[in-house]
Assembly symmetry: C2
Homo-oligomer: 156 residues x 2
DNA sequence: ACTCCTTTGTTGACATGTCACCAACATAGC
DNA sequence: GCTATGTTGGTGACATGTCAACAAAGGAGT
């Protein structure tokens, strides 16, 4: 009276693809983190924060907005920003029109950091992933990932 | 005298693919972690450890071996095993033939845990990823990921 | 204005991962 | 046997992430 339904195990190719994805994910992460640290002294998290801030017009965002964009919890972001603020990469400003709010601002040093880091980072991404793929594979990855993202964003 | 070479930025499709991959990675992780915790009370890390142990013949591995398979540092694994050991999922035994060594053994409870977790986990993997992809996309992901893994394993 | 509910960002306690270092041991070459 | 060197697993200090609780505002309905 236990087995609800026989589980639909993955077939060989699916299993290979899944394991490959997981392993690529792990190794790629390690390598890109290493490169980033060596080239720029930034962590992945630092780079993400700086990158998102530098991509908006007056280099500033509400904490909540930034957290939503990055798929981070507000708590995690707040903690991390405290550390980045101590290093002078970002700053907190009062939010006009909402006294609770906190505006996260890219500092001069932060801007310089991301501008110096970006070229190296792109090189790393190319070297370790993008340049290893064919046009078709890039297209497939594009389509496939956006479909999965849509699924995961849409429902729970 | 600054710019070494003009960085080879990603073109539009490459950038879309890269961002999509990153976002899929983040969301998929969150979802699978949530499902795993809800269905089995295990973390990703727990599942990985148990899964690797259950896949070898006498359900036991040297710590170093296990760490290498999982791409974890020995330190991380040692810490995590201490916690899992306190929960009764694994055990440490002396290693015959190498007095330094530590054999990591799957306990009865650990075996039961992974056996109960596996079907739910596969369902989650299917629902959130595999079943969303076409045959061709799975094939592409398989090929592509193994090429990247080979690159990252081969050299630094 | 007042109540009720939500949102915002922060904090502290705790879980987890990283790093540098260490003691115990194995192994090779002498 | 003995020494030099590398390996194994563990440890503590610290960096980072998670979670629940919180104070301070905002905002809707009346």
């Amino acid at each position: 009276m236990k087995p609800v339904t026989e589980p639909r195990w993955l077939d060989e190719r699916q299993a290979r693809a899944w394991r490959g994805y997981r392993r690529m994910r792990a190794l790629l992460d390690l390598q890109i983190t290493r490169d980033l640290a060596a080239d720029s002294g930034l962590s992945d998290a630092d780079y993400d924060v700086l990158s998102n801030l530098s991509e908006v017009s007056p280099h500033r965002l509400r904490l909540t907005e930034l957290a939503a964009t990055m798929l981070w919890s507000k708590s995690r972001l707040s903690h991390h920003l405290t550390r980045m603020q101590q290093r002078g990469l970002v700053d907190r400003e009062e939010c006009p029109g909402d006294a609770r709010g906190s505006m996260i601002v890219l500092t001069e040093a932060g801007l310089r950091a991301i501008e110096e880091a970006a070229p190296h980072h792109v090189e790393s991404v190319r070297r370790n992933m993008i340049d290893l793929l064919t046009e078709e594979e890039i297209a497939a990855l594009d389509t496939l990932s956006h479909r999965v993202v849509a699924h995961l964003s849409g429902e729970g």
